[in-house]
């Protein structure tokens, strides 16, 4: 079974924000909510680096650990999703997330914080696939159409890769070998460094 991951190649990202636009357009994300965004380090200086950031669908997701109503779940493809019907908008997941992925719409009266919204890896949510309820709450379900996330597929320089971890890691490895530099994958260790929750430890591993 595929283990879905994101990988952003900082050597290739040109800060075009195509991924952000693709996400916004695909899911009709409301104003003020940014499921994906591009962060630039040392902006304007020689050697600046840009990276596209969203929910990384961590192996041992901290948002799942801190949620007081246990509204998070992980699909068989390793995508971290949540049930908006249960979310109380407490914001714990936002504080726990190392990537700042959880977003909270503030369109209610007095800046009321709404239910959490985040990247779904274009996998919808726990409503019937391709239903109006799923689209309204979580956006389009591209995975159920046999497609990968719109942000990665839209990326013009293929800096953002999304999909089966083995395949995208191979693509990246080949790329680094060909160009001979830029092997650092930002956020990869933070998101996927820990073993899967509940997975059996490797043979001979010490606790």
């Amino acid at each position: 079974m595929a283990r879905m991951k994101f990988l952003c190649d900082a050597e290739r990202c040109i800060e075009c924000n195509g991924c952000v636009t693709a996400c916004k357009n695909e899911h009709e994300v409301p104003w003020g909510v940014n499921r994906r965004r591009v962060v630039t380090l040392n902006d304007g200086l020689p050697g600046e680096k840009s990276i596209s950031v969203a929910c990384m669908h961590c192996s041992d997701a901290p948002c799942m650990a801190v949620c007081p109503v246990d509204c998070f779940y992980k699909t068989s493809e390793g995508v971290v999703l949540h049930d908006k019907d249960l979310c109380i908008g407490c914001g714990y997941c936002f504080y726990a997330c190392p990537f700042g992925a959880p977003q909270f719409p503030q369109d209610g009266a007095f800046g009321l914080r709404g239910k959490m919204d985040k990247c779904t890896f274009c996998a919808g949510g726990p409503e019937a696939d391709h239903s109006n309820a799923e689209f309204k709450k979580y956006g389009r379900n591209r995975l159920a159409e046999g497609k990968l996330p719109a942000c990665a597929e839209m990326c013009s320089t293929k800096a953002l890769l999304g999909g089966d971890s083995d395949v995208i890691a191979d693509i990246y490895r080949n790329r680094v070998l060909k160009r001979g530099k830029g092997s650092e994958v930002w956020g990869w260790g933070t998101a996927y460094g820990k073993p899967e929750k509940g997975a059996a430890p490797p043979a001979g591993a010490k606790s």
Binding site: A2, M64, A65, C67, V69, D70, C71, F72, Y73, T75, S76, E77, L81, H82, D83, D85, L86, A123, G124, G125, P126, E127, A128, D129, H130, N141, L143, A144, E145, G146, K147, L148, A152, E153, K158, L161, G162, G163, D164, V167, I168, D170, I171, N174, R175, K178, K197, G198
Partner: protein, 74 residues
């Protein structure tokens, strides 16, 4: 003498009560998902439960991200 013994026993029990204190370390237990169950992506109308077909489609999309295999070198 008897009062002294009772007092001593009470004091000893209070002192030893401290030894039975539990460690103030919270042991985290993973919660269980409380929401609605989700469908598998291959159970959608597009694939109708054809898991192999879905995996093939995803693999084709995965491989499509590798421009080294898309560009034919001369």
């Amino acid at each position: 003498m008897r009062g002294f013994l009772i007092g001593g026993a009470v004091a000893l029990s209070l002192i030893l009560a401290g030894c039975g204190e539990k460690q103030p370390v919270t042991v985290y237990k993973q919660g269980q998902y409380q929401g609605k169950p989700d469908q598998q992506p291959w159970d959608s109308a597009a694939f109708k439960g054809d898991r192999a077909g879905w995996e093939k489609a995803i693999k084709a999309r995965n491989d499509g991200q590798n421009e080294y295999t898309r560009v034919v070198s001369n």
